[in-house]
């Protein structure tokens, strides 16, 4: 039963990813003009004249004069074998540019998600069980502050505090000596030393939201009759809490993976700029501005795929957690 559900769910992602790829391609094609018009405009701004014929020649060479569907086909058939095309701006294969940045983005997103859960889960339970206690009010207030404060502001504040009071090196994800170095154990350790700042910054607002969700869910569950039944069995309050109401309140919590994931990745762009992180966000923005079609397309497609996979993971976890979903 569970296996059929999972297989079915995985098979469904295939047509979905196909649709996503079309939308992604349509989106990067949507702005008027193409890379060459932007390129010509940039040159014109700096006073250079561009030869119209040369532009046309380039356009033909890149296939930019062909209809949408043909361009899409050329692109997607390449993607399927791992060839994401060539970045116009950087004049090198897209795959050379993106993998490390995507990996770092993913690493950042996953650590942030784990941080968020680690913070939101116990605090959410606490503030539901001790509803309207002083602790609940304190946590709630901090939660609202976290929700209301824009990430980049928190980033600036943390950077200031980090530099002035701790003398920490706050920009980027690596110390300068490791930036171009090949991967090694020392580099991983260095990453660990740097990543906590963006993790805290990005995690604050989503944990604030999750604390509210956990608290509300749990408050709904705490007065359900099955809790009284469990109490009448003689279970201790703590075991009872974790086994019954928390288990049921987890459902919406797990569903949040689906939306928290893409939010973390796209929401990280501004923070990444402020902290000059070598993640996918800044490069994607640059590629979009320059209408660097294949680079932007590859990023968007990969981000969408991650989102779809996030949804898939949360659906499968939900089915594992709640038998009612499996049997429907």
């Amino acid at each position: 039963m569970l296996l059929t559900y999972i297989i079915k769910r995985i098979l469904w992602t295939i047509p979905f990813l196909f649709a996503v790829s079309i939308v992604a391609f349509a989106l990067i094609q949507a702005p008027p003009g193409d890379y060459l018009t932007t390129f010509a405009a940039t040159l014109a701004q700096s006073g250079d004249m561009v030869d119209q014929e040369r532009l046309e020649a380039l356009r033909t060479r890149y296939g930019l004069d062909q209809p949408f569907i043909v361009q899409y086909w050329k692109w997607i058939s390449g993607v399927l074998v791992g060839d994401f095309g060539i970045s116009f701006e950087w004049q090198q294969p897209v795959s050379n540019l993106i993998w490390e940045r995507m990996a770092l983005s993913l690493c950042l997103a996953v650590s942030t998600l784990l941080f968020t859960w680690a913070v939101a889960f116990p605090i959410g339970i606490y503030s539901a069980v001790r509803k309207y206690s002083i602790g609940d009010y304190v946590v709630t207030t901090i939660g609202f502050l976290g929700l209301a404060m824009p990430n980049f502001l928190l980033a600036l504040v943390l950077m200031y505090i980090g530099v002035v009071y701790f003398g920490a090196d706050v920009g980027g994800l690596f110390s300068p000596e490791y930036q171009t170095a090949p991967w090694s154990w020392a580099k991983v350790v260095d990453l660990g030393k740097h990543i906590w700042i963006p993790v805290v910054i990005l995690g604050t607002s989503s944990s604030a939201a999750l604390i509210r969700i956990m608290r509300a869910n749990l408050l709904d569950e705490l007065n359900k009759p099955y809790v009284t039944t469990a109490r009448a069995k003689g279970l201790s309050e703590f075991r009872l809490l974790l086994k019954y109401p928390v288990r049921l309140a987890l459902n919406p919590f797990v569903s949040t993976i689906g939306w928290a994931f893409p939010q973390l990745i796209s929401g990280a762009v501004i923070t990444a700029f402020v902290l000059s992180l070598p993640t996918a966000g800044p490069l994607l923005l640059q590629a979009l501005l320059a209408q660097d079609m294949y680079l932007a397309g590859a990023f968007i497609l990969l981000l969408c795929t991650l989102t779809v996979v996030g949804m898939l993971v949360s659906d499968i976890l939900l089915a594992l957690l709640d038998p009612r979903i499996r049997y429907r």
Binding site: K233, G234, L248
Partner: protein
């Protein structure tokens, strides 16, 4: 007359003395339980009777100290005489449960082991995401040091004791895979896991059909005899009391009104409230005199609604090419006639299709086949089954509905004037001052003051809300009213009042009723004829008295014999008729 066969009174196992449980509110503490004393004896059943809000559930929960926060025991003793139970060590050992710390180890060791509890709603009282076996095994492992494997084996044995078929596989299933009765059996199995000496059952059968109710009460009785338990049964149903009780406690507004043996309470009640409760039940168990008198003056007319060959199918097929599941025939070839000025009862268990029938008549559901001919005042005949547009709108003005749940069927964000005025407004009958005048008039008809108009539904009690629902139903001066379990959610004493109101309205407005209910006594009081439904079919139709006293169909016999009689000298459950038709 033969005396009631009471069980041999065993020693008092649990004594409640002067119990007071309070809930702090802004206006000072509210006493939900106010100086209540009684005792539970081994092998005996004590029934605690009372209407909603009488504090009977809180009393039960106070014994185990599981009252919902912020309620707490403020006075009194709850003495568990453990030395008198099978768990006793021989030495005198009396524990005052009211003194124990509610979250402490001492009281937790008693919950589920010495004293177990069963709750009303078997669906929500069990966790939907844990298997039955997990939840039963948990109690065993909590109180006794046994291995998982052993706990599982014992869970299976318990499920077998409560007559759940194929317990070996049932143990790994989830509650939502069981029917209501099966869930309650599982709940009972869970409560018996550690051989408790006291079993507290809080309205254990209220959410179940009468036939299932009879089986569950049977089961509790049998297990009580086997295990020698003291049982405290909380109920609002005097019939259930008469069938099961050895001793009775009557509660009202948190106070103990009267206590005594089943004989004393039923045949020599002292307190007016007890008398009133019994009278309300007895009133319902026979035809309304008012109705009979009226029928003698004004005979029942010709047919208003004729249902012919009505079929309603629900397509439950799903999966690839819809190959899984099946088509459910909720209504299977129904023929019924409602006459002018008549009350037609429709009785049956949950899932018999009685509600679907009512909804088809209002075209909430579109019937699959068949016709429902409605004869309008002018003599014109329209088929409700196929009507659309204006035709349907006109029919819907003439056929109205009263709903079961007086809480859920009134929009909490609308005030009474808006609720009652809505059908008038929607149909363009009245607006402005005329609308308000009409609403005031309707409120007066159902016995509510005109000042009720500005208030919201939450300000009214269940009975008053049902009156608001009735006012809404009659606002358009309909000819036919479909009342779907209109009195089921009300206390017994209110039921007769509401039924009498409906009869009065019938006289004044010339109404015909289709009265859907699972409660035979209400049908008997209110209905001229009754149709018995079973699995989508009408198995028997006839004059109510005729059907009640001389049922022809096997299912009707089973249904009638499962109804608990409010007379302890006629306990009929063990000799009841069972009916099981092959699917």
């Amino acid at each position: 007359m033969e005396p009631v066969a009471a069980a041999e009174p065993g020693p008092a196992v649990l004594e409640v003395k002067g119990l007071v449980t309070e809930f702090p509110t802004r206006h000072g503490p509210f006493r939900a339980v106010d100086d209540v004393s009684f005792e539970l004896r081994a092998g005996q059943t004590l029934c605690v009777v009372g209407e909603s809000g009488s504090g009977k559930s809180v009393t039960a929960r106070s014994i185990l100290q599981i009252v919902d926060t912020p309620g707490r025991i403020t006075a009194g003793e709850v003495l568990l005489h453990r030395h008198r139970t099978s768990r006793g060590s021989g030495e005198e050992e009396t524990i005052d449960l009211a003194r124990l710390e509610p979250r402490g180890q001492a009281i937790r060791a008693i919950r589920g082991r010495d004293i177990a509890m069963i709750f009303q709603e078997p669906m929500s009282s069990l966790s939907p995401v844990h298997t039955i076996g997990n939840q039963i095994g948990e109690v065993i492992r909590l109180h006794e040091s046994v291995s998982k494997k052993e706990a599982r084996a014992r869970s299976i044995e318990l499920l077998r004791q409560v007559e759940i078929p194929t317990p070996e596989s049932a143990v790994d299933r989830y509650t939502f895979e069981f029917s209501g009765g099966m869930r309650q059996r599982a709940m009972i199995a869970m409560s018996l896991a550690c051989n408790p000496s006291v079993l507290i059952a809080d309205e254990p059968t209220t959410a179940l059909d009468v036939t299932t109710q009879a089986e569950i009460l049977d089961l509790i009785k049998r297990l009580q005899v086997d295990h020698g338990m003291a049982v405290m049964l909380i109920t609002h149903d005097m019939g259930v009391v008469a069938e099961t009780a050895d001793a009775i406690v009557v509660m009202r507004h948190g106070k103990l009104v009267e206590r005594g043996s089943v004989e004393e309470i039923f045949y020599a009640p002292q307190h007016d409230y007890t008398k009133m409760l019994l009278q309300a039940v007895l009133d319902l168990d026979r035809p309304s005199e008012r109705r009979l008198a009226r029928r003698a003056v004004q005979a029942i007319g010709g047919p208003v609604v004729e249902i012919k060959g009505l079929v309603k199918e629900f397509d439950l097929r799903h999966g690839f090419m819809r190959r899984k599941g099946h088509v459910l025939k909720a209504l299977d070839d129904i023929d019924l006639t409602l006459n002018e000025g008549e009350n037609l009862g429709v009785v049956g268990e949950s899932g018999s299709g009685k509600t679907t029938l009512g909804r088809c008549l209002l075209r909430v559901h579109d019937p699959s086949r068949g016709e429902m001919l409605y004869r309008a005042v002018g003599g014109g005949v329209a088929d409700v089954a196929t009507a659309r547009g204006n035709g349907l709108e006109r029919i819907r003005r003439d056929i109205r509905m009263i709903f079961q749940d007086p809480f859920a069927s009134l929009n909490p964000r609308m005030n009474v004037a808006q609720i009652i005025g809505e059908p008038l407004l929607v149909n363009g009958v009245a607006k402005g001052a005329a609308l308000r005048a009409r609403v005031a008039e309707l409120l007066d008809v159902v016995g509510l003051p005109a000042s009720a108009m500005e208030r919201y539904p939450h300000a009214f009690s269940g009975g008053q809300r049902q009156r608001i629902g009735i006012a809404r139903a009659i606002a358009l001066e309909p000819r036919v009213i479909v009342a779907d379990e209109a009195t089921s959610a009300l206390d017994v004493s209110l039921r007769t009042q509401v039924l009498d109101l409906l009869l009065e309205l019938q006289e004044r407005l010339g109404l015909s009723f289709i009265f859907i209910s699972h409660d035979i006594s209400v049908i008997r009081y209110f209905c001229d004829r009754v149709a018995v439904m079973y699995r989508g079919k009408v198995v028997e139709v006839g004059e109510t008295e005729e059907v009640c006293t001389n049922p022809q169909h096997g299912y009707t016999k089973a249904l009638l014999s499962a109804v608990p009689h409010p007379d302890p000298r006629h306990r009929g459950m063990l000799g009841r008729h069972r009916y099981e038709a092959g699917r």
